[in-house]
Symmetry: C2
Subunit: 291 residues, 2 copies
Amino acid sequence: MELRQLRYFLKAKELLNFTEAAHALNISQSTLSQQIKQLEDQIRVPLFNRIGKRISLTEAGTLFAEYALQSVNRADDGLLLLEDLNNLKTGKINIGVTFALRNVLTKTLILFAQQYPKVKVCIVFGTSDELIEKLSAAELDLVLTFKEDSKDTQFRQELLFSSPLTLVAAERTGLASRRSISLEEITRLPLALPATGYSTTRFITEAFKRKGLHPDVSIEINDIPTLLAIVKTGSWHTILTKVSVVDQDLITIPIEGKKMSRSAMAIWLNDAYPKKAMLAFLKLLKAENNL
Amino acid sequence: MELRQLRYFLKAKELLNFTEAAHALNISQSTLSQQIKQLEDQIRVPLFNRIGKRISLTEAGTLFAEYALQSVNRADDGLLLLEDLNNLKTGKINIGVTFALRNVLTKTLILFAQQYPKVKVCIVFGTSDELIEKLSAAELDLVLTFKEDSKDTQFRQELLFSSPLTLVAAERTGLASRRSISLEEITRLPLALPATGYSTTRFITEAFKRKGLHPDVSIEINDIPTLLAIVKTGSWHTILTKVSVVDQDLITIPIEGKKMSRSAMAIWLNDAYPKKAMLAFLKLLKAENNL
DNA sequence: ATCTCAAATCGTTTTTACCGATGATTACGA
DNA sequence: TCGTAATCATCGGTAAAAACGATTTGAGAT
């Protein structure tokens, strides 16, 4: 029993005429006759009464037609679904983002949701490590984070943009006029940093260590908006990439030194068949960042 | 896209291993590989990710599997239904009966309903003409009526039994002791007969006519129980086959003469594939009448 | 580097879907 | 009543497709 035979049967049932049905199916009458017969042989029940040159459905044919139709329909529905999936009229993508890239994400997310309203988007915030872990387990389709050295071939990465590392301070502090600032100067300021485990924090502490400096870190916190609220008090400063901060009450002062900037990356699995929706999101993301 | 391919796909999805799936399906690994690939080509979407020697479902594969499963299941359900139909665990038969054979039917009907409780039985009472008409139109599967000459080859007929034509009278009439009665005598009795169009009435009036007799018919009625109620008053008599009457308050007196009996027949369409349930009913019917 | 396992690929065989022609039966019109 | 057209079944041949076994490829493990 094959879908082909069920389709033949249903058309024959509809027209109650093998010749016409065969024509409608673009096959010869003899083929239809044979296929129907083969189906009947396989299910061991006649589907049609042959009365002379006329045919009519048997009881078995009538009852079986219901099921045949549903079977064919479900298969066709499956194709429609795939069609939709291809046209981004359905589906779901899971995106992981570090807190530092919140602003970058938000813009694109809004755009994407407007453009593909039927596609469900699920956002997961977390540390780079957590996100890469989830990506490996295929729990995420796309991760936005800062570049870290990794020769893991299972990932594909694309650069989104580079953003300088900056000292973040409240506007009313005396630093407002500064064009840049050195790491040494920063060690003399009270700092509140993102929690250990965050890519940027790791990067920064590494930079201090290389210069043998000891920054005055009095607060660690794993939520950027809260961190920024603390900085706004004027009592603390923090270090973040420039794009992480879009707040009129705060100023960002680039840190002096080579390589004092970070590259935002989009990372996804190399091997898995990429979701259309993920690619569409990525495309928007790159367009937003002039790539 | 064929059910075969969907089955292959589902098994591969289940085991996530082509080699094992092929084995479970009793086909070679190469065949499974090719068929899956062919399916993917046809639906234009990969169903599996091939990561090295491992495979995993793509999003499309996951979503499509739902539909594939349902399609396959509906087809299989159809087979189960046909199985049930064959075992008389479902289905419906339409039986036409003349009023005169009500008693014959009832016994078998009860038996049948007990034996095959899942089979729906639909009983239609009517005149022979009506019933044969409906049988021709395939609205009925089986008709129980009295024999009439008809060389129509579209019908198959089987004799159930013969029953003598009898004069039916109330017990307290003076006829109780009579072993038989002639047509001439009957003309002197007030008669209530089944309505014109009934086989027996046609037969009886024909018999009177052949002998040049004029019976005293004062009532015609198309319902046998009502007719019998009228006869019970003692003011009228009627003529029916013996089997039509099973009532202690009534007596039946055979009518003298050759061919003064009627043959109850089961009639069905010759060409149509006979329903299993109909054949089972017929078998019971014949068993009940010692055939 | 080598081995192993699983999937893909290749070339061949077997099966079967399909066709056109033909045959059989029936319905219909002259 | 006798064609004639319509319709389904059947047959033989062909082209397509499914299936196989053997081999290759590639990734992960040793």
